[in-house]
Subunit: 139 residues, 2 copies
DNA sequence: ATTTGGCCGTTATAATATAGCGTCATGTCG
DNA sequence: CGACATGACGCTATATTATAACGGCCAAAT
């Protein structure tokens, strides 16, 4: 969170209270949250806010690189290292729902794309399965 | 399509008219289609069908490995080689919307996951950018 | 002939996401 | 300071994507 502030300050982007609130909610969750989960978390605090507000905050946080969208779940998760994050990969456990973010080089993949003359803009790499812990516990 | 029939026959799965129709629509599109695009294509032929029917056909085709879901677009595309398809990767052009399916080994990726004791079930690899053609044409 | 299981169709509703508009705060420049 | 420009916010409404629940039909198996 402190990091996030610094990053935004450095780039002259405004990390407003609303955006901070949404980021905070994501940071304190160890699972990806849907937009409406975040909405519910806000409204649990007595506010009565509409979806559009959450989506706007999410849009900002996404473009600022502070969070990621998990496409295969329509959910959002905070970035574990916003300062050095590019082409991240995600390991998503289908039992405990936790998500691990791997610093992705994905070199092989992107090279393959380039060989075909394809110019890469954004990569979505999401691997679903069971984490080590859940396998041990036989869940 | 002939392939699809054979595959289903071999596995004693029923490629019913409705499922064939949906597959046909996807096969003859060179872009991924949303469920409601497919619905519209069906209804354009004079029928008046509900979404649930399309989703059911899609579910079957997915589990049969005849089509893929493009998570980052909420859309569906026919598999280019159902007989030997595992861990496919997709190159999605943001200009022409075409999707290329690469026979994915993704070895590096999955190895990385395994190193962490993660047991892989399904991988989503979707790369967005511009295809060679669209770069040339300056689109 | 009867049962069984899968597929289909219908209605309704849930879950996810965006559009459009007016207001307010913040910062800029004369 | 005052006028203006910009962007963030909040509201209402609506679009888009997806599923639930129930009953009928039909083909294959017994
Ligand atoms: Zn990250
Ligand atoms: Zn787990
Ligand atoms: Zn395939
Ligand atoms: Zn293209």
């Amino acid at each position: 969170m402190a990091r996030a502030r610094e990053l935004c300050a450095a780039r002259k982007q405004r990390l407003t209270p609303r955006r901070r609130q949404v980021l905070e909610i994501l940071l304190s969750s160890h699972q990806p949250l849907g937009a409406y989960d975040i909405l519910a978390a806000i409204n649990r605090d007595g506010e009565e806010v509409a979806p559009t507000i959450v989506y706007r905050a999410l849009e900002f946080l996404l473009q600022a690189g502070l969070i990621h969208r998990i496409e295969s779940r329509n959910a959002f998760v905070s970035c574990s290292d916003p300062e050095n994050c590019a082409a991240a990969q995600f390991l998503i456990c289908q039992d405990c729902e936790r998500v691990a973010e791997l610093a992705g080089d994905a070199a092989g993949l992107l090279a393959g794309a380039q060989d075909l003359g394809f110019s890469v803009d954004r990569s979505v790499i999401e691997i679903t399965g069971r984490c080590a812990q859940c396998q041990q516990h036989g869940r």
